[in-house]
Symmetry: C2
Subunit: 330 residues, 2 copies
């Protein structure tokens, strides 16, 4: 098989065989992929499930990153949803739509990216489906286990709680902006700092371990920040019927402003906009009862107060241009 081999040349069975050898079996997988369905263990009698889709031209562009990057990101953005419930991911299935002319090597790269993300965690890629279509679509469904704990919902925050965040903020938005302004060459021109932002966009590293750690520490509410701190924070605020009042960002995330500064200056963007509205970092936003010793990796970024549900910054309405991401531009 040469690098130029297309999906249509190999056919469905050949492609499945080629992919299958690359994908990990999970530690909880009882019957792996290859039958009508897989069987996965759920020792505490419950499983957690979430689904997320990536579309070529919307969530990724060929040429910006590698196929491995796309597979990695498809896995990580789903794994983060499981962590955000306080659960441990164990299994995923992947539905893949491919144009017949798609290079087989690209598909194998995607499979390697999925495996790089899932394998070390003991997460199995336990099934999939292939179909022809006009553009590439990667639909991932991921499953996790609560290990006997209650799930941490968005609705449990109470006035008086501490608001905390783990992971990076604004890096993916900044990395995307660097690529959109001129691709990888522009990133290289920006030096190692910009290059790191691009890497954080292409290969997000959500703090997956901190989901269960937050649950064990008594988190009252938690969610994955995928559409930006303001937009996702507002969702948590509405679900809980509370206000999230962010401390000034210069005090809570000073290093982030350093990190984002050079690219922001070059592109003429207010770095605070990336921090507040940038999506796809897949950090964890959580609330804890006052006085909780936060798990290492979480930093306090504000507090929960009573009032009309929403997000404030230093007690006032945040003044930024974008308010986060709507997939249909509505």
């Amino acid at each position: 098989m040469t690098r130029a081999t297309r999906v249509a040349d190999l056919g469905e069975a050949g492609l499945l065989a080629a992919i299958g050898g690359l994908l990990p079996r999970g530690r909880h997988t009882l019957v792996p992929t290859g039958d009508d369905a897989a069987v996965v263990a759920a020792p505490d009698g419950r499983f957690v499930v979430s689904t997320d889709v990536l579309v070529e031209g919307h969530h990724f562009r060929q040429g910006w990153g590698t196929a491995e990057d796309v597979g990695w990101r498809a896995a990580m953005q789903n794994l983060a949803d499981i962590a955000a419930m306080g659960a441990v991911p164990v299994s995923m299935v992947v539905a893949l739509v491919l144009p017949p002319a798609q290079p087989v090597e690209w598909v194998l790269g995607l499979a390697r990216g999925l495996a790089q993300a899932c394998g070390p965690l003991g997460v199995g890629v336990d099934g999939g489906d292939l179909s022809a279509g006009e553009g590439v679509v990667v639909a991932v469904t991921v499953h996790g286990l609560l290990e006997g704990r209650a799930p941490v919902l968005r609705s449990g925050a109470r006035a008086g709680d501490v608001l905390a965040h783990a992971g990076v903020l604004g890096h993916a938005a900044a990395g995307y902006a660097v690529l959109a302004a001129g691709g990888r060459e522009s990133a290289a021109a920006g030096g190692p700092v910009d290059d790191e932002l691009v890497r954080d966009f292409l290969r997000p590293r959500p703090p997956l371990d901190l989901g269960p750690a937050a649950a064990r520490a008594g988190a009252t509410a938690m969610m994955d920040v995928s559409d930006g701190l303001l937009r996702d924070g507002a969702r948590l605020a509405r679900a809980s019927g509370v206000v999230l009042d962010l401390d000034p960002l210069t005090t809570t995330v000073p290093h982030a402003l350093d990190r984002l500064g050079p690219a922001a200056r070059r592109l003429g963007v207010d770095p605070q906009e990336w921090l507040l509205t940038g999506g796809e970092d897949h950090g964890l936003l959580a609330t804890f009862p006052a006085g909780t010793a936060l798990p290492a990796g979480f930093r306090r970024i504000g507090r929960v107060t009573a009032g009309e549900p929403g997000v404030l910054l230093g007690g006032g309405v945040p003044d930024v241009a974008g308010q986060g991401w709507d997939h249909f531009g509505g």
Copy 2:
């Protein structure tokens, strides 16, 4: 909201709110859709999972059936995979890619079709994801419970077993051919018989109850027939290392030949080809130890013998034009 309202007009949040009210919560759903992930009960400590994707222009065409039909079929073809393991479906999640100009009414129809299929079964639609894209893609992941039983795999058939089938054979292929030959008007011209074939294509009714029933009756192997009896039968044969020897179809499925006859004559097709290679009926192919009282709804269609794994018809190699469906034409 008028019928002409587009997805882009309503936006992601508005669309989610409109869909959400239409979807059923399942009998086993502990935390429904709306958080980062759902939580579903799995009382025997295991869950079964499978995923399947439908792509506009490949699996369905707008104008042939309604949006409800697409939702129904997306659900049913997934539910059949759970039944084929001997499991009872309990939960699904749906990732949806939509062009911004897609009518909102179409999306609501899709949701109603999913609900029509899932609601009466107590299956929850427990999560989803929306994205913009060029064409419509519906990716469904479905979960089931084994209720303490062992899963029925493809690999358990043994020489001496009886080969049985439940559900219809060739109807979906015939219904598709009728539509492809001239759309619904052509179907109407063919009268009520052709109309029933079109309905079986647009709204398959897999014998879902018979999956667990087969497991309880001691089925040694089972699978969903989605790509045609010959192609799927060969998969079961290879997985088990056996030969599936079909009895002559005139003795085992005479009524099917009556049903398919008029459309076959009109379109100049050998109805045996539809029976042997037609996909998307989502019947169940199963093997049972000789002497098993087959659950009502299963009919004996052949036997399992030793030899080079494959499918025979009356002891010989089947002589038909198509050999089933490859999604990439390979």
